[in-house]
Amino acid sequence: MQAMVATRKSRAGATLLALVSLLFTMPGHAQLRLDITQGVRDAVPIAVVPFGGQAEGGSNDIAAVVANDLRMSGRFAPLERRDMVTRPTSGAEIRFEDWRLLNSDFIVVGRVEPDGAGLAVSFELHNVQTGASLLAQRLPSNEKGLRATAHRIADLVFERLTGIPGAFSTRIAYVAVDGKPPAQRYRLIVADADGFNPRTVLESREPIMSPAWSPDGQDLAYVSFEGKASAVYVQRLATGQRSRVSARAGINGAPAWSPDGRGLALTLSRDGNLDIYTLDLRTQTLTRVTSDEAIDTEAEWSKDGQSLFFTSDRAGNAQVYRVRLDDSRRAERVTFTNGYNARPRLSPDGKELAMVTLDRGGYRIAVMDLASRNLRVLTDARQDESPSFAPNGALVIYATREGGRGSLAIASSDGAFQQRLSSDQGDVRDPAWQPFGPRT
């Protein structure tokens, strides 16, 4: 189904990997495609051998899913399948000298077996240099769940080798737009983190924007203009059940969940003046947070739930501020580096803010360390926006434009690499990465 890219150690310093398209086909849906646009210098070479007990090349090809996940992380360079001389499916079958010659540091092998009414997937991770077994597990699965099992394997391998939990089993929400202005069609889509299994959550002739995941990863809040004016909705993904939580006169926008999941921060307007409010979802209590004549919007909660970060142009241009909820008359300016900083998004550890910054003439994604206030620009395009951290903090997904179309892209939070998740049809934008939480 898809090409495999290899960065051998000997080639690890190569600056650009040729554009390699890994086409994910799902009939009837916008397709997201992972484009490796930038090689990663220190990517660790790893061989993920096709698993026994299943045909190679199908959409359930476990090794292909695992290799692609590891590649997407930017930290690994999976060995090209055609360079594999043998196909071991268990540790006992691995001839480590073969894989040393292929410059792989690590190897993943495994197989799919019938298990009662379902299937079981066994896999092992070995160090090629020492032959040591690093991980060996048997996971229950079934025909429909093989991709999910593959993502789980990638999570475990990633965590074993990096010390960071993998986020490959999570999902992303984004907005896809088809058609030419002014007659466009908007869809809110939820897909696996690798772009596979896109499912349309909402479809409308009117704009949909700003999807935001609840902390438990079960609900999405978003803005829809389906009533010819903006309103904020909360939708339970498992059931599709949704409720309109704010449709006040004027703007209803920029929903952000409180860390305990009980409330939202929202942007509302009175006579055109945008301010930030909090809404208790159970009691419907609305509390005003900011009262400034400027545009105050794009709230994001601090990890302790005691304060909000937000965008405001109260000083003349968009900058990020922080306000304590128990002392909301004073807001502290957080960003000073560039002339435009907007849309703050907190890292999962609460220590960094991703944001849009106007850097050398381009709108780019930057990450600011809250302790040092040091701003690190991650991207280099002209219209990057809507950053969202992966739940393990290792990656930031964001929206960019190329060839006149919107696409999604991923950067490592340390700025080491970027890669694109582009759609074959229409624009995709406004990505939000699902937090960890109960796996669904």
Partner: protein
């Protein structure tokens, strides 16, 4: 979609919808030299809106509407919500129409170009719509007759990521209902 098309065709045949190509900034007649500051949007003489040879079947109100809808889009500079001088007479013409026909209502739709953050652009589009709203209020239009909505960058008028497209998309559209 189909319904919208039918509706659009029907409205077009009544002469109620301006041509889909928005007025370009440079096609607008310059305002009188003594008009007030563009910021306030109060200085227009209300002379804009050339009459059209509307069909005789139209009521006077429909004719007046068709005339002002020749220019129903106001364009803005980058990151600005100021009404440029050339649009002061356009706003004034719409204000006169709204004052003259008490059942007429207008919806102000604010838009931005695609650069920058989406929700911040919703704010910027709203600010533009509010500037036009205040200009209409100052010229005697009742508050209850005006609604505003901001689409930010979500509903561009034209595609494209160059300055020409950006200029077409930074706008307030005055959408009338009778």
């Amino acid at each position: 979609m189909k319904l919208m098309h039918v509706l659009a065709v029907a409205l077009l045949s009544l002469g109620l919808v301006a041509c889909s190509k928005p007025t370009k900034p440079d096609q607008t007649t310059p305002p009188p030299a003594d008009s007030g500051a563009a910021t306030s949007g109060l200085g227009g003489e209300g002379a804009a809106g050339a009459g059209t040879g509307a069909a005789t079947a139209l009521t006077p109100q429909q004719q007046a509407l068709a005339a002002i809808q020749q220019k129903n889009v106001i364009y803005f500079e980058y990151d600005s919500a100021e009404i440029r001088q050339e649009y002061v007479p356009v706003v004034a013409a719409h204000a006169q129409y709204l004052v003259k026909y008490p059942t007429a209502r207008v919806r102000l739709e604010g838009h931005t170009d695609e650069r920058g953050s989406r929700e911040y652009n919703i704010g910027l589009g709203e600010r533009r719509a509010q500037t036009v709203r205040r200009a209409l209020l100052a010229q005697g239009v009742a508050e209850s007759r005006i609604t505003t909505v901001s689409y930010g960058e979500e509903r561009p008028a034209v595609e494209g990521s160059d300055e020409a497209a950006f200029a077409q998309n930074r706008r307030v559209e005055l959408v009338h209902a009778q």
